[in-house]
Symmetry: C2
Subunit: 411 residues, 2 copies
């Protein structure tokens, strides 16, 4: 386990001793003053990955905290599936699906949560908190339940009942805030500071990105190499920041000769990060980034992305970019991924596949490219969301003739 | 990979060459004539487990088919979590949770499906089928999607919409049968024989148990030993048959000196296997086993268990037994497992924890016993099922005073 060397402000570059500040540079404020975790580059890695561990703790030498502080749930170690048929059809060198939904609470958020909860334990924090209606909240609720740590979740009033049910099942203390998501986020932050809760909100807590980056380590380890491109959905930006940071650290450590181009995907109706990236490419500042957000893909329905600075800068550093896709493209990607690859993603989780089709069509990716799609969220949390307007299966009499007729009708 | 030596009828003991018959002994019929897969005992195991594979295919030498026929989804390799606090409270030697929901389609059924679909590929069968409303159906639909194999699912008319949505998403051909589950099962079997579909229904197809048994291999491998007791929920009996067969094969192969007592749990209102076991212990025949089935735990709501013969005989061979628990005990177990262990199970999945509390109370398990609870199905498929009568979280104004009041009210 590597103790971090410092925390650095992504905007002013000022460095802080590890653990001296929780969330952001006091001079730049939030979100301009988001922090990144730095490690000692001169210290050689000795057991990276550590073959004795299966979870994300096998990358302990580039994590801010050791497994001895971790709670029991196993984050990481998700499968990477080759998808040769689609690669061939699309004219790609190779294509893989990283099914990052196969985690304790069924989303990639468990990576960031695993590390953040371990940090809370190491620092002796007595409770955790976050604002979210979705995967980050259920992830935090699950890990806190496993760790026997109280957990306070702030959700906007209109959060869907099944998602709240999961939080309640895990025993989280859930506040339904009479307001929108931004108000819930602000209240979670204020309450964390007031009551001493350690706040896991994406984009706020730099430790989340430390967990998220392990998906890059896994791709690198399993392929024995880095691919040419990696595609991942973007809401607040903390996941793609992790993906990029992981590959950048591998290069920095001399473990990989280069980094893949990392492509972020947003819904066309909720594209604050993509727009900030376009502005940044034209030389304008990244902040402020705040827009209306409308899409059926609720996990990436973010108007005020908390990790936008990292999500823009790091992606630029990899030579990647951003793609926006329409809601029909998202829905169709989720269906095609389920039907053809057997991977059941929520619409945001399937977004990388929708983006891939565009990137290939536009000639950005082709025969020389080996591509990984990271699938971040499971379709199981809202199965009817994916099939909403498909026809209902036929009701048949319980006899063979009815079966034959139904089969022939649909042949 | 070991080619099976023979298929043997569990009732008359007659043996058949491998692959010469699909489902049951023609003399004894179904379900008396269920088949078990036998391996060559004289052939030493050379790579068991095979360290180069992570999924259940690492146990290929005791599987009927090789990984070269498998489809891309990764079944097996689920985590085993120690739960020291509960072990101490209950006065057990040790306690683990085997979270077998962390599979591609979120249930233990993926083990049986992985092997059955690979067998279908090896045998050149062009399509698969099964009857189920639940986990087995979504598992088969997912693996068939991944394998590019058509898949026909028969569900009773009243099957819940979210479960059908998942099947439709995977592109399965779903027949809603105007009748009950037994009629759907019979129609699936008749249609499979008529159209040449390979039928994966639990209890019918002996290959399902071959996949299911790998959970025992994983427990043995991870502990480096076998525990004193293993507890698992029972519906049709195919899962517990697999658990027992796995441990019995380990002993037979000289890899473990003994087998754990395997305990099956059923809902008090759907206890056909438990009752058949009690009859068998008194010297009566196992069949016929058919009863009304009423419980909120839909995944074990089975009145006519298809694998009852194995589920009774094998459990007796391990020295274990059956426990029945009430619906309130199931619900409370699911909540406690989520809240205290961070593992979100459906009520049937949490049944082993409910049973454990009984077994400890009745003195059947105690200080000398190391126990594993196998959690078979995820709470994610119906989150509101677990929390149905819990109070709704408080709605608060977006200010700190409201947070403080809510926390103090619930302290």
């Amino acid at each position: 386990m590597a103790e971090p060397k410092a925390l650095r402000c992504v905007t002013c570059g000022r460095e802080f001793p590890p653990w001296s500040v929780d969330y952001f540079c006091p001079r730049c404020g939030f979100p301009a003053g988001n922090l990144e975790v730095l490690y000692d580059r001169d210290k050689p890695l000795r057991r990276f990955p550590d073959p004795a561990r299966f979870s994300l703790w096998r990358y302990g030498e580039l994590l801010p905290v050791g497994e001895e502080h971790a709670v029991r749930l196993r984050a990481g170690g998700t499968p990477l599936y080759p998808w040769a048929q689609a690669a061939e059809e699309l004219g790609l060198g190779a294509l893989w699906i990283k099914d990052d939904t196969l985690q304790p609470t069924a989303s990639c958020k468990d990576r960031g949560t695993a590390v953040t909860v371990a940090v809370a334990k190491r620092l002796g924090r007595k409770a955790l908190a976050c604002a979210s209606t979705g995967n980050a909240a259920s992830s935090l609720a699950g890990f806190c339940a496993a760790g026997g740590v109280p957990c306070y979740i702030f959700v906007p009033k209109n959060a869907p009942a099944p998602k709240i049910a999961q939080l309640v099942a895990f025993g989280a203390f859930v506040f339904r805030v009479d307001g929108n998501y931004d108000q819930a986020f602000a209240l979670a932050l204020a309450a964390s500071q007031e009551f001493g809760w350690y706040n896991r909100s994406d984009g706020l807590n730099p430790m989340v990105v430390e967990g998220n980056k392990t998906v890059a380590f896994e791709i690198w380890e399993e392929l024995g190499d880095v691919p040419e491109a990696v595609v991942v959905a973007v809401g607040d930006g903390a996941v793609i920041a992790g993906v990029c940071k992981g590959f950048l650290e591998l290069r920095e450590a001399g473990l990989a000769p280069r980094v893949p181009k990392v492509f972020g995907v947003q819904a066309a109706g909720a594209a604050a990060v993509a727009h900030a990236f376009a502005r940044f490419q034209r030389g304008a500042p990244i902040l402020p980034a705040e827009e209306p957000a409308e899409t059926l893909a609720d996990s990436i329905r973010v108007g005020k992305p908390a990790d936008v600075v990292k999500a823009v800068k790091y992606v630029a550093e990899t030579g990647g970019g951003y793609v926006t896709v329409s809601d029909p493209e998202l829905l169709s990607a989720a269906r095609e991924l389920a039907r053809r690859a057997g991977v059941f993603a929520e619409p945001s989780g399937a977004a990388p596949y929708a983006a891939l089709l565009r990137l290939v069509r536009e000639g950005a990716l082709g025969q020389k490219d080996r591509v990984v799609l990271i699938i971040t969220g499971s379709g199981l949390k809202d199965p009817q969301g994916v099939t909403r307007d498909l026809p209902e299966p036929p009701l048949i009499r319980p006899d063979l003739r009815a079966v034959r007729e139904a089969v022939e009708r649909c042949a």
